[in-house]
């Protein structure tokens, strides 16, 4: 399941610069809003689903090399966070849906950890 299909099926907003999402295949996912847990639990290539939207999620995503962050419940990162994400090659996606629903849909689509 590539990221483009995930973006289309879940109707996600792409907040960072577009790229070839069809060429990115997430290897699984991790959901938490506690950054220490994400640091320990998220793996390279994972999707990270969170309602945190502040600047520090970008650093965590870059260190863990996650495929993308899906920010839930309409939380909005500010312009500085989006700029930093672009600079570090981190993909930011957003949705109005809650984390639980996104997790469920991703699991149904076959993105499992």
């Amino acid at each position: 399941m590539n990221l483009q299909k995930i973006i289309d099926e879940l109707n996600l907003n792409v907040l960072t610069e577009p790229r070839d999402f069809a060429g990115i295949t997430p290897t699984g996912g991790y959901s938490s809003d506690l950054l220490s847990c994400v640091m320990a639990g998220a793996r390279k290539g994972h999707l990270w689903i969170t309602l945190q939207a502040h600047l520090n999620i970008v650093a965590i995503a870059a260190l863990n090399e996650v495929a993308a962050i899906i920010i839930t419940e309409d939380a909005q990162p500010d312009a500085a966070s989006i700029a930093k994400a672009n600079e570090q090659g981190v993909v930011l996606l957003s949705t109005s849906q809650p984390t639980y629903e996104i997790n469920g849909k991703l699991w149904e689509m076959g993105v499992r950890s």
Partner: protein, 345 residues
């Protein structure tokens, strides 16, 4: 990433070295993928263009194919692509003994084309999906500007990769042989970062520099990951909890990595309690950002081989963590000897 774009390279990496793919190879594979997006079709296509007019007899077409050792020829009318002739088309004409017929009679008119400014990944997909051998390349005005085969793409990537690889090799060689080249009784590389209290905008910056340095020094991904988690937690603790910030230090020696965080207050009253999962003194504001889960020191402890926390309330805190690395980690020889499975895998 698309497995289609990756396949030839895996074979290439495997075939060239005759051993399974290593992390180093994987690094190169990723670069090939990157190149598939970076390189434009116009960078790799053949511009030494042979073509036929629609009226050209097939016998002449056959001559052009034979002399130039090519297997297909675009048919061009007033600069625009009218069709394409392949060896198969010629064979069809030969079977009917019809080599005097004009090109237009046997050419394929519905031609799949590529666009010169697209990245080569797009052409690779077209090749795989349509099972084609060559693609005429058009520019933005639909003018024929070149021909593209899979061979052109392979050559283009190899040339780019070789250039890349030479530059990378020089840099990597310098860094990863540091400990072999410099002889002393005890060589230590010290990386030092000043961390400001409360500066969340820079959170993780030192850790990301440390990560890059470790990769550059040749540390394996597993050790790099453990270091990263430990120094990130330490870095954030300096930002979140200290009065005046502190110093984050990484000391790399051939047999171990020592990470330390020091500050001048406020100090920790109970240095045992902080190792309990879920124990935190973070403020509500910081917790809202997702910090203060009470997992910081728990994470650090899990990632390192030894951890030592000393603190005096009102004075200072010093945290020292060590990861012991296999002998060959830093300054390992270049020809894949660092492939030996280590206890940390």
């Amino acid at each position: 990433m698309s497995p289609r774009a990756r396949t030839p390279t895996e074979q290439e990496a495997h075939g060239r070295r005759g051993r399974p793919i290593t992390d180093h190879d994987a690094h190169e594979i990723n670069r090939v993928e990157e190149l598939s997006y970076d390189l434009k079709i116009s960078d790799v296509m053949s511009v030494d263009l042979h073509s036929a007019s629609p009226e050209m007899p097939l016998s002449k077409v056959l001559d052009i194919l034979r002399i130039n050792r090519i297997s297909g020829l675009p048919v061009v009318e007033e600069g625009k692509l009218a069709g394409i002739l392949s060896i198969e088309d010629i064979v069809r004409a030969m079977q009917k003994n019809d080599l005097s017929a004009p090109a237009s009679q046997y050419m394929t008119r519905e031609v799949t084309t590529a666009v010169s400014y697209d990245s080569i990944i797009k052409a690779l997909r077209t090749f795989t999906e349509r099972g084609l051998g060559r693609l005429p390349v058009l520019d933005e005005n639909h003018k024929l500007v070149g021909m593209l085969t899979k061979g052109d793409i392979t050559r283009g990537i190899l040339v780019a990769l070789q250039k890349d690889y030479q530059e990378e090799e020089v840099r990597r060689y310098r860094a990863s042989h540091l400990f072999e080249d410099i002889i002393s009784e005890r060589t230590t590389l010290v990386l030092r970062y000043t961390i400001k209290a409360g500066d969340f905008t820079q959170g993780g910056k030192a850790s990301s520099h440390i990560k890059r340095a470790l990769i550059r020094l040749g540390a394996d991904p597993q050790i790099t990951r453990r270091c990263c988690i430990a120094v990130y937690e330490a870095e954030m603790n300096l930002i979140i909890h200290t009065t005046n910030g502190g110093i984050l230090k990484l000391e790399v020696e051939p047999h171990r990595i020592t990470m330390s965080a020091t500050d001048d207050g406020p100090g920790i009253a109970d240095t045992e309690k902080v190792f309990q999962p879920g124990y935190s003194t973070a403020t509500e504001e910081v917790r809202e950002m997702g910090f203060g889960a009470g997992m910081g020191l728990v994470n650090m402890k899990r990632c390192v081989d030894s951890i030592e926390l000393n603190s005096t309330v009102g004075k200072s805190t010093k945290l020292v963590m060590r990861i012991f690395v296999p002998d060959q980690t830093f300054g390992a020889s270049r020809d894949g000897q660092n492939n030996e499975p280590s206890k940390n895998h």
